[in-house]
């Protein structure tokens, strides 16, 4: 108790602007990872109404597959191939476990996706074991650092943030301007009407799994050098991502980014106030508070949610 008090005292008195930027950048890094996982949740939720609790496993598969492939090929190729393979896994999961269900209840889908998540972890532990691995830093090594506003950060941080930002922007363009993106949104808005327009809604659902698997996998590769990869990393990420998705308003990508960065920054700064071990509890606490007082999320708009089908 005394320790905690003292460390927060130090935090308050000695917080320099360099330290502040350091925490902020760490927060943004983790925050953008959470945002990408949350957007993965949203893509599937939007086209199907399913919360895919196996979302974190896509991130794990991306990182682990890339690490394995790296033995046989250069890094960029390994990452691309890992993303593609994870997309295929995503499609396979949808086709095997979801597609043939006729009008399943939400509870049944929740149980199925949790089952898929457990199964994926079992597969991963058999293939890769329990050891912690990581991809090498894309540029330089652990001690390479660049200076931003006086704070020293690893260039990998920039990779993570840039990749997340790019994915967010590309996804936005995809949904807003392409006809396939429009058709996916149509499925989200009204499945029956989409069928009556001649849109194959089953394929759109598969595509949503492929997309969010791909996004998760790419995030898994980008973060691997900093956060490491392990067979069971998905669970924690899924909880964080889910918190962010709820916090940002389920289904809203912009909300997910804002909420992701918020959670990341809160977590980063919390290190200087509460012991590290409590860091994960913060996300759960936020999730519970949000579910109690503002279930539509911090950024969920009234108008849009009133028009939502589910």
């Amino acid at each position: 108790m005394f320790d905690v008090g003292r460390s927060s005292f130090i935090f308050l008195t000695k917080m320099t602007s360099e330290l502040f930027v350091q925490y902020l950048l760490a927060g943004i890094t983790y925050g953008s990872i959470y945002a990408i996982v949350a957007i993965g949740f949203n893509i599937i939720y939007n086209t199907t109404g399913i919360i895919n609790f196996a979302q974190g496993e896509f991130v794990m598969f991306g990182g682990m597959i890339a690490i394995t492939l790296l033995q046989f090929m250069p890094l960029p190729l390994a990452i691309i191939l890992a993303v593609i393979l994870t997309m295929i896994i995503g499609a396979g999961i949808e086709i095997c476990f979801i597609r043939w269900l006729k009008a399943p209840s939400v509870l049944r889908l929740v149980i199925i996706t949790i089952g898929i998540s457990i199964l994926s972890r079992e597969v991963a532990v058999h293939v890769w074991g329990e050891s912690i691995r990581s991809l090498p830093y894309f540029v330089g090594n652990e001690i390479t650092s660049i200076s931003i506003l006086g704070a020293r950060i690893s260039p990998q941080v920039l990779w993570v943030v840039a990749a997340s930002g790019l994915m967010f922007i590309c996804l936005g363009i995809f949904f807003k301007t392409t006809s396939v993106g429009r058709e996916m949104r149509a499925c989200a808005s009204n499945r029956k009407a989409a069928t009556l327009c001649g849109i194959n809604t089953e394929n759109m659902v598969t595509l949503s799994f492929v997309l969010s698997a791909g996004m998760g996998a790419l995030a898994g590769c980008m973060m691997s050098p900093i956060t490491y990869s392990q067979y069971d990393m998905g669970t924690g990420l899924a909880i964080k991502g889910f918190t962010v998705a709820i916090l940002g308003g389920l289904g809203s990508s912009g909300g997910a980014v804002a909420a992701g960065l918020l959670l990341g920054v809160i977590e980063a700064f919390s290190v200087s106030v509460v012991p590290l071990a409590f860091q994960d509890a913060i996300a759960i606490a936020i999730l519970l508070i949000i579910l109690f007082i503002r279930p539509q999320g911090l950024f969920g708009s009234k108008e849009a949610s009133a028009l939502k089908e589910f």
Binding site: S179, R182, A193, G198
Partner: protein, 238 residues
């Protein structure tokens, strides 16, 4: 154009349609009238592939549509305007229209733009509202959007499920005029209605559906004269 023989269908154990036989020829307005729960929506949904038939035959332009997936049927030229509009509420009016054009998308942008222009001419209100979210349109505007969206696929048969529900008499009149105009432009319309008098007024032929069976059929004028139909659906007794 559409031929149905001994069709039966329903929802799981609930059998709704029994032995339906009917047909629609090119260039006709055919109406199906019947009380609530008679099975009108079920009949259209079965033709559209949303509900699986349990037995019987249905062919559209020589294609056996009972074997087709629901999403492929609009591509054959048979579209349904569903009961209760079912617009894409969270998307703009124009996006709704473009989605309706999905079956003809492969024919290129020029064709889509031409179709879009044609629908806007038919429903000028939609052009004024093209950037508005469909869910914020009035009931009448949503009905017009649902019709415009269906027409975007250049269908040869349009099936409309109760387009007049919940609309003011003036708007109903407008919608019925548009249906007549569609027929005059060479389209074929299968119209399901509660409003039997108005429907028979514009239709060439009609079928009366009761508890899943067709009980009377014939030219619209004959049905208007038919005593049973008058008593049950036209609220007139002689």
């Amino acid at each position: 154009m559409l031929k149905i023989r001994n069709l039966a269908s329903g929802y799981g154990k609930i059998k709704v349609l029994k032995n339906i036989s009917m047909h629609v020829d090119a260039g006709e307005i055919v109406t199906i009238i019947g009380a609530n729960g008679a099975g009108k929506t079920t009949l259209l949904s079965t033709i559209a592939g949303l509900v699986k038939a349990t037995s019987g035959e249905a062919s559209f332009k020589e294609t056996n549509i009972l074997k087709c997936k629901a999403a492929t049927i609009p591509g054959l030229g048979c579209v349904m305007v569903p009961e209760g509009r079912q617009v894409f509420a969270t998307m703009s009016v124009e996006e709704n229209m473009l989605l309706g054009g999905h079956p003809v998308q492969k024919q290129g942008k020029a064709v889509i733009n031409e179709l879009l222009e044609h629908q806007y001419e038919l429903f000028p209100i939609l052009r004024d509202r093209k950037d508005q979210l469909a869910g914020t349109l009035s009931g009448g505007e949503q009905q017009m959007l649902a019709m415009g969206r269906a027409l975007m696929s250049k269908p040869s048969l349009v099936m409309m499920d109760e387009p007049s529900t919940g609309l003011a008499p003036l708007i109903v009149k407008e919608i019925f005029q548009i249906i007549v105009r569609l027929r005059d432009e060479g389209n074929t319309v299968l119209l399901v209605e509660q409003n039997a008098k108005a429907a028979l007024g514009i239709a060439d032929r009609g079928y009366v559906l009761e508890t899943g069976k067709i009980i009377v059929q014939g030219p619209a004028e004959d049905l208007l004269e038919n005593k049973d139909v008058q008593r049950a659906y036209l609220g007139r007794e002689k």
